[in-house]
């Protein structure tokens, strides 16, 4: 017996023994130790009072007459206490069984989950069996059922050896379950209320002494009222309701490694939330099959549905023969048109395959315009002109992954971002050049074999050259400096196709005013004329820009193509436009660039000062244009728009300084970094190189996904 009452009774008996010894001495006629006798009496009184208090705390109306009735009363109280303890133990076992029964184990491996649930069922069965026993000799260690699994899963072999041993000895099935369990496997459920079995509530017959003192008790044991279940977080509840792991969005997927068992974790509820939030690895969705454009056979990731260049729908099947043929035909057409006069180029275009797609069509005029502008505005070397054409032709390549620029009515550089994450390779100029070469190789032989075609082409070329020379000479003879046209003429992107001959003349009229002529008396008139011509050209350029912008389809950069790198390198290695132009007259260089390069481009003589030029004029002088990188953060946040930069071009043609005029902060840095790398042909006034101030507009546009 180890109840408090029994302990107090034992203390009382101990103190009475001391008194009895002294009394025995008295009875023997011997002297007694008064101090010991008094000490014994004091202790006995205290212990007797403690016994009385303990009894009355259990049964306030208890009464007894002698030691015999006292012993009987204590026995009854201890029996009741034992019954209560049994009941409490049984309730704990049954509550834990209900808790384990209400939840379930979830594991990424179904077999493992089944095994764990089997262990759980065994543990539940064991708990219920033991909870139904009339005698509860074994007490379940740990906290209440709601916290028990969390406690058990954090038991350590070193520090909790006693508890583990108790579990192992008394509840082997339960111990086996928690040994295999991890806290994050557990999905808690709604525990059912527990009713204590009748066997645990059986009471002994009461004595006369205790009946009067004891309050009437119900026949059945007290009904266990289920504790209010703690509020489960919505996430956990939602998770419990939606056990389908796959339904969670892919953005929440995390690595599936379970939380370590021995780690201190938050409460059970937090753990349930963590389980909900830390999903098991959802089966990664199968990557959609790649798609191909029917026209350009560009390969796009599966999530693309429309070709950003042609605007056509994508198909899962590649049609390399047909698309490539069309592509080659397009490239041939644009190449032919770039070197022919506007009228002649129209005829040549008519002879070219008529599968030029809409985006390419405006691109071709733009390309032609840009080339014409270059030819008319500034003196270029043939090589540089070829470079320009190549760049423009390659920029038209739909497989360029870098943000490409396109000319719009504002003279800004439109940066188009493909929907898929772009690869680093930008296939621009070299791709177009390569295809042009391919197409030329395929069809050029046929054209060159036809003398009529050759003659017509030569005539057209000659006429164009003459016109360009005349225009340049007129501009060059002007004495008054023309004001720089600060229009937002679109900056020709490298991706734009070579300009068609139709657009060449008006586009070339937009550039900077011609250099001053040698005749001074007519200088002012010439300057005025040049100024007017420049303004008109600028207006035409704007009109062309508008026309070019008419098709709303933007030149979206395609997804990177494995072959893009190679083509880019090939284009860079080539570094020139097609070496020969179909129909070129013998003796000619056959390159527009060569002709253009020879025509000097100068601005009105403002020697030693900085001149302001329009963006269109500056674009025409652009030798090297690095497309900006679309910032990933901006792409993720779907930030797009135009960035307007004010750039100062030094005498060497380098961008000496750039500052932002307007634009989204996420985009300005990328625009500035790209523009800083651009190279222009040096601007000169009266043969003197000057610095030029111009505005550059870079458009960042995200294509449709």
């Amino acid at each position: 017996m180890s109840s408090p009452i029994s302990s107090a009774l034992e203390s009382l008996d101990g103190s009475l023994q001391a008194i009895a010894a002294q009394v025995g001495r008295l009875r023997a006629g011997l002297d007694v130790d008064d101090a010991q006798l008094n000490h014994g009496l004091t202790n006995a009184r205290r212990n007797a009072a403690a016994v009385r208090d303990l009894i009355r705390s259990e049964q306030p109306t208890a009464a007894w007459k002698d030691r015999g009735t006292l012993d009987q009363l204590i026995r009854e109280l201890e029996v009741a206490a034992q019954q209560k303890k049994n009941q409490q133990r049984a309730v704990r076992l049954l509550e834990l069984a209900a808790e384990l029964d209400a939840g379930h184990v979830k594991h990424r491996v179904e077999a493992r989950a089944n095994a764990l649930n089997g262990l759980r069922a065994d543990a539940v069965k064991e708990l219920r069996t033991k909870g139904s026993a009339p005698q509860q000799d074994k007490e379940l260690p740990g906290p209440d059922a709601s916290e028990w699994l969390h406690w058990a899963c954090n038991l350590q072999e070193e520090s909790d050896a006693e508890s583990l041993e108790t579990l192992h000895n008394d509840f082997p099935a339960l111990e086996g379950f928690i040994a295999e369990m991890e806290e994050n496997y557990w999905v808690a459920g709604q525990r059912q209320p527990v009713s204590v079995p009748q066997a645990a509530m059986s009471a002994k017959p009461e004595t006369v002494a205790s009946v009067a003192a004891r309050a009437p008790e119900p026949d059945r044991g007290p009904q266990i009222v289920p504790r209010p279940q703690p509020q489960k977080p919505a996430a956990a509840a939602a998770f419990a309701e939606t056990p389908n792991v796959q339904e969670r969005p892919a953005a929440e997927s995390k690595p599936s490694a379970p939380a370590p068992r021995r780690d201190a974790t938050p409460g059970w509820q937090a753990a349930a939330v963590a389980v909900a939030r830390e999903p098991e690895p959802a089966p990664t969705p199968a990557a959609p099959p790649k798609k191909y454009c029917d026209k350009c056979d560009t390969e796009y990731p599966g999530q693309f549905n429309v070709c950003p260049i042609h605007g056509t729908s994508l198909s899962a099947v590649s049609a390399p023969s047909g698309a490539q043929a069309r592509q080659k035909g397009n490239l041939a057409a644009t190449a032919a048109a770039a070197v022919a006069e506007p009228r002649a180029s129209a005829a040549a275009a008519a002879t070219a395959p008529k599968t030029v797609t809409a985006p390419e069509a405006p691109a071709a005029p733009k390309a032609k315009q840009s080339i014409a502008e270059v030819v008319k505005e500034a003196p270029k070397s043939a090589k540089e002109a070829k470079k320009d054409n190549k760049q423009q032709a390659q920029a038209k390549d739909t497989k360029d992954t870098k943000p490409q620029t396109k000319e719009n009515k504002g003279g800004a550089v439109a940066v188009q971002e493909p929907p898929a994450p772009p690869e680093a390779v930008a296939e621009t100029k070299s791709g177009v050049t390569g295809r042009a070469e391919e197409l030329w190789g395929e069809h050029g032989s046929k054209l060159t074999s036809n003398p009529i075609v050759l003659a017509v082409a030569g005539l057209v070329l000659f006429g164009v050259l003459v016109a360009v020379v005349i225009m340049l000479m007129h501009r060059h003879s002007a004495t008054t400096p023309a004001k720089p046209v600060e229009s937002s003429a679109p900056v020709q992107a490298p991706s734009t196709a070579p300009a068609t001959p139709n657009q060449a003349a008006p586009a070339s009229a937009a550039p900077a005013p011609a250099t001053a002529s040698n005749s001074q008396p007519d200088q002012s008139k010439q300057q005025n004329q040049n100024q007017n011509a420049a303004n008109k050209a600028a207006a035409d350029a704007n009109a062309n820009a508008k026309q070019n912008n008419a098709p709303k389809e933007v030149l979206n950069l395609p997804t990177p193509n494995p072959g893009a790198n190679k083509r880019q390198e090939a284009a860079n290695d080539a570094s020139e436009m097609p070496s020969s132009i179909p129909g070129a007259l013998p003796g000619t260089s056959g390159s527009v660039g060569d002709v253009v390069k020879g025509i000097p481009v100068s601005v009105p003589s403002i020697a030693g000062q900085k001149v302001r030029i329009s963006s269109g004029v500056a674009q025409a002088q652009l030798l090297k244009q690095i497309p900006p990188q679309y910032p990933s953060q901006a792409r993720q946040q779907r930030v797009q728009g135009a960035v307007v930069l004010q750039a100062l071009i030094d005498k060497d043609g380098r961008v000496a300084s750039v500052h932002v005029v307007s634009g989204h902060p996420m985009l300005t840095k990328a625009a500035m970094e790209a523009v800083k790398q651009w190279r222009y042909r040096p601007f000169s006034v009266d043969g003197e190189p000057v610095e030029a101030d111009t505005q550059i507009k870079v458009n960042f546009t995200l294509g449709t996904e």
Binding site: L12, L26, V32, K65
Partner: protein
């Protein structure tokens, strides 16, 4: 047995019983009267002291540690006292017998004298017969032998009925003699000294040393 020792012991037991009853209340975790307990304790101490004194009177070197030893000691003391008492009784009887045997009765009438002397002889015979018993359960009332006849011949039926009745019951012959006698008839003689035989130790249980208690 009503010896002082046993009396004192009985009283001691009564007071200890009073203490025990209070202790039983304590044992039952019931409240008790401290005053009563204190009184009982005081009485018990007193009686215990008395007993010790009595014992030490009989046996100054007596020691005992517990109640059993005490009882044994008291028993021994009682036995010794009994033997002593027996010896004293026997001696008294024999001395009276010698006193009556040394003297003679003289009456003016010869026949009366003879009868009275016969009664005297019967009384002497009876006294000596009683003295020969081992256990002197009967105690001769009265003073010593030399004054006994004077005391006996002055007894009155009205005032000393108990004594005469005791004599009549225990010493009938002696009682008849003194009933016929007159003090004027008696002619004392020279009494012979009485030889007291050593006491018989048959009824005294020897106490071994290991059982001998030590008084506190």
């Amino acid at each position: 047995m009503s010896s002082p020792l046993w009396s004192a012991l009985a009283k001691l037991d009564a007071s200890v019983q009073g203490i025990q009853s209070q202790v039983d209340w304590l044992k039952a975790a019931l409240e008790f009267d401290d005053n009563q307990l204190g009184q009982s304790l005081s009485e018990a101490r007193q009686y215990a002291a008395m007993l010790r004194d009595l014992i030490r009177e009989e046996r100054p070197d007596a020691v005992w540690n517990e109640r059993g030893d005490l009882e044994l000691l008291i028993h021994e003391l009682e036995i010794a006292a009994q033997a002593r008492r027996n010896q004293q009784r026997r001696t008294k009887l024999l001395e009276l017998a010698n006193e009556l045997d040394a003297g003679r009765v003289k009456h003016r009438i010869e026949a009366r004298s003879t009868a009275l002397n016969q009664l005297r002889t019967d009384a002497i015979k009876q006294l000596r017969a009683e003295a020969a018993r081992s256990e002197q359960e009967k105690e001769l009332p009265g003073p010593d032998a030399s004054d006994w006849l004077h005391w006996a011949l002055s007894l009155q039926e009205s005032t000393d009925p108990m004594v005469l009745g005791g004599l009549r019951r225990d010493f009938s012959a002696l009682e008849r003699f003194i009933g016929e006698m007159e003090e004027s008839y008696w002619i004392p003689g020279v009494r012979q000294p009485v030889k007291v035989e050593p006491l018989s130790m048959k009824s005294v249980t020897p106490i071994s040393k290991d059982r001998r208690g030590v008084g506190a």
